[in-house]
């Protein structure tokens, strides 16, 4: 760039110098040409004045008026060198008005015939005063015509023509050249006919048409064989000629070129020196700036530890110092920022891990549930389905569906209709509107099987209180529904059986009533009339007849007892339990006393039974029924121990496993345990009727009563070793 500037400067300087040189040359040329033109012009003025003085020369006029020999002679005498010296004028002629040569003196290098004269006359035109013509080369010399009209009054009689030399003496030329300066050429020419001279001889004129556009300024042209020229033109008005001062262009521009060369040399010197100085200065400025730039770039590159050495106290030094302070501050802020970011990042990562842990845990939890869980977002798009959900549906979520389409996508039908579940009635749709919903009439028709499901749906709200999603939980109730249907079927069957049973029971009631009423009446008649027979015909009936009547009455009594026991047993089964607190101790004691009273006084030989009655826990139940149980157990104990020498009956109870176990123990005949399973059946007897009376209903009654109270009954015995009968009753908490 610097080189370009220098080049431009040099070029400009050169052009300026060249312009100056050209202007100098132009001024000089203009000055010289002007002076010469002025000189020539004043010469022409003098010449024309001289010539005009001949216009009325009497001898010449006289000859023209009449060509008498005398006049001719006078004219010839007057003619020579008229108006000039011989070295100036080559020839003089006298022409008539038509340009015909009449007289001549002297001679020129070529012919001066009439045609030539005509051309000159045509050239100079109608003359009021003398005129000078253009240069002509005739032979070795160059001439120019000077023509004066010869008139008498207003009548033109002819012309006086002088052919004057063009040229200068060597002295004049030398003087002239000195005046012009070396290298310069002076040309004088007549543009009218293109003849030019350098005052030594004819010469080629400037290679431009000066007639067409004579320019006042500096002319530049190339002269063949002489190179580039600069020229200045000055007209010589009175002669119609021009002066051209011509310089070789090189001569004019030589000082400029020399100036240019020197300038370039100087520029080179300055350039080298300047570069060196600039390098030195630049180094002094750029080194700290580069350090600053490097540090700044380092800072941009996140290296905040870089500092700039402070070595100077100028602006750069202050800049470095300020930079260092700024860098220090940035580093502090950056460090603080990085610590904060690191802390926050750690917290975020920790929170993220916890979230991920929570999510994993939640997913595992949801997957481990035996309930299907299906979640849709607030817009109804499925988001999640747990393992059970996928098992029941046979597929995962359909992410691109809407809640309305869920039933169709998962082939959910409304049970019993054969139609896809209406989209807007699905529980999840209700949940999306903020209402919990439940439905159990879903059937998923999978390719392999149909699954009945029960669905609960509920809205889920975010921390902002906005509906975030909806969750549907559902379970496979196929089995349950099947079981329910089975239970319904069984229940129906049961109801039918119960109805049958009730019918049977009603029939049994009728039957029992009949037995009770109708069977007893004839028995009563048999017994009563037998008794009447015995009483009324005592005298006529012999002993055998009396005995037979006794058998009849005894059998009748037994049958009555049997009917009574059966009725009691039957009634126990159907009687409504009237529950209340029952004092078992008092009840057992009362029954025992009644039984002893009923048995009447024991035979004299027999020992009355010893009865041990302990304290019995109270219970809750139907006192009348429980009394029946005690009656049968106690009467049995008395009955089967009465053959013992010292009958002992023990009544007691113990508590075990939340039950009260009551027992009645005797030391009577006992029984063989292999028949124990028959003990509590109706009409089942282990003893012959002639050993111990009885109908075989008593223990059946005991068992029925105990069973109706939710208890158990059992016995322990050995043949001849006595027997113990137990019955358990649930202990009422309030009574223990």
């Amino acid at each position: 760039m610097l080189l370009g500037v220098i080049t431009a400067l040099c070029t400009a300087a050169y052009l300026e110098a060249a312009r100056g040189a050209r202007e100098g040359a132009r001024d000089r040329l203009a000055s010289v040409a002007g002076q010469y033109a002025l000189a020539f012009d004043s010469s022409a003025l003098r010449l024309k004045a001289h010539l005009d003085s001949n216009a009325s020369h009497p001898a010449l006029l006289g000859f023209l008026r009449g060509a008498t020999p005398r006049a001719r002679q006078a004219a010839e005498a007057a003619l020579p060198y008229r108006g000039g010296r011989p070295e100036q004028v080559a020839a003089v002629g006298l022409w008539d008005a038509n340009g015909r040569a009449l007289l001549a003196h002297g001679r020129v290098g070529g012919r001066l015939d009439s045609a030539f004269a005509g051309a000159v006359v045509a050239e100079v035109g109608a003359l009021d005063s003398a005129r000078l013509g253009g240069f002509r080369v005739l032979g070795d010399s160059m001439y120019y015509p000077a023509v004066t009209s010869l008139r008498a009054g207003s009548e033109r009689l002819g012309y006086l023509v002088q052919w004057r030399y063009v040229g200068a003496t060597p002295q004049a030329l030398e003087q002239l050249m000195r005046l012009i300066g070396p290298g310069a050429t002076m040309l004088i020419g007549s543009p009218s006919n293109g003849a030019w001279t350098n005052l030594l001889g004819p010469i080629d004129g400037p290679p431009i048409d000066l007639r067409a556009a004579p320019k006042p300024g500096l002319l530049a042209y190339d002269r063949a064989g002489a190179g580039s020229r600069l020229a200045m033109l000055a007209p010589i008005p009175r002669a119609g000629w021009v002066v051209v001062m011509e310089f070789p262009r090189g001569t004019v521009l030589a000082p400029a070129r020399l100036f240019l060369r020197r300038l370039i040399l100087l520029a080179m010197v300055f350039l080298v020196g300047g570069l060196a100085a600039a390098w030195a200065v630049g180094r002094r400025i750029t080194t700290p700036l580069r350090a600053l730039t490097d540090a700044t770039e380092a800072m941009v590159g996140a290296d905040y530890t870089r500092r700039v050495p402070v070595e100077r106290r100028d602006e750069l030094g202050r800049l470095a110092h300020t930079f260092n302070r700024a860098a220090e501050r940035v580093q502090q802020v950056q460090d603080g920022l990085e610590r904060t970011v690191a802390d926050r990042t750690a917290e975020l990562q920790s929170a993220l891990h916890r979230l991920q842990d929570n999510e994993v845990t939640l997913r595992q939890l949801l997957d481990s549930l035996p309930v299907a869980v299906y979640v849709v977002d607030a817009a109804g798009r499925p988001q999640f389905a747990n393992r059970m959900s996928q098992e029941i549906l046979g597929r995962g979520i359909a992410p691109d569906t809407t809640a309305e389409e869920l039933a169709r996508v998962h082939q959910a039908y409304r049970v019993g209709t054969g139609e896809v579940y209406p989209g807007d009635q699905q529980p999840i749709l209700h949940a999306l509107k903020g209402r919990a919903a439940h439905a159990a009439d879903f059937e998923i028709r999978r390719p392999d099987r149909a699954v009945r499901i029960e669905v609960w749906a509920a809205p889920v709200y975010g921390a902002d209180g906005q509906l975030a999603s909806a969750v549907a939980a559902f379970t496979d109730i196929t089995e349950r529904e099947r079981e329910r249907a089975e239970i319904e079927r069984l229940n129906g069957e049961l109801a039918r059986r119960i109805a049958e049973l009730e019918t049977v029971n009603a029939e049994l009631d009728t039957f029992c009533y009949s037995v009770s009423h109708d069977l007893r009446a004839p028995l009563r008649a048999i017994d009563g009339f037998s008794r009447m027979l015995q009483e009324d015909y005592r005298a006529t009936l012999d002993a055998e007849a009396q005995r037979l009547l006794g058998v009849i009455r005894s059998s009748t009594s037994g049958m009555g007892q049997l009917i009574d026991d059966l009725l009691t047993f039957s009634r126990l089964s159907r009687k409504q339990l009237e529950e209340g607190r029952v004092d078992m101790t008092a009840l057992a004691r009362a029954v025992m006393e009644d039984a002893r009273a009923a048995a009447g006084p024991p035979p004299a030989a027999a020992t009355p039974p010893r009865v041990n009655l302990g304290s019995l826990p109270p219970t809750r139940g139907d006192g009348a029924l429980l009394r029946q149980a005690w009656v049968n157990l106690i009467s049995n104990a008395l009955k089967f121990s009465r053959t013992k020498p010292e009958p002992v009956v023990e009544i007691g109870a113990r508590k075990q496993n939340g039950e009260a176990v009551y027992f009645v123990r005797d030391n009577g005949v006992g029984f063989d345990m292999q028949y124990a399973d028959k003990l509590f059946g109706v009409f089942q007897r282990l003893h012959r009727a002639d050993e111990f009376e009885g109908t075989g209903v008593g223990l059946a009654i005991v068992q029925r009563v105990v069973h109706r109270h939710g208890g158990r009954v059992w016995a322990e015995a050995a043949q001849g070793q006595g027997a113990t009968f137990y019955f358990s009753l649930p202990m009422a908490e309030a009574l223990t």
Binding site: C512, S516, R524, G528, M532, T556, G560, R571
Partner: protein
Amino acid sequence: MTQSREVEILLVEDSPNDVELTMRALKHVNLANRIHAVRDGAEALDFLFARGAYAGRGETPIPKVVLLDLKLPKVDGLEVLRQIRGDPRTRVMPVVVLTSSREEPDIKKAYALGVNSYIVKPVEFESFVKAVSDAGLYWLLLNQAPE
């Protein structure tokens, strides 16, 4: 069977055997001559309210006690009892139900209708005699009927 004397016991019993047995039992305690027996509920009501066959009985005083079997032809014992208790003339008349039934509903219904006593007829003759004569004696001799 006699209508000449004042009837103190009305026996309502369809079974002739039971009638005879009852009469014999009451005879043991010398009450038999003041007994009138009818064979069904309709006849019992006719007798008590002096209508039908008994229309001419006039202002005969009501019996001192009625021994009423529950299982009767035509009008059963409970209906007879209901009508007895529904009529101001017989509302306070002692009625002893004398039947072979021990069925709870019968007993409860009888008490609900305002029966005074309930005696199950035992099969055994002696017990029967004792029960019947006790009932007759009690109501005739011990129980003061409101006048």
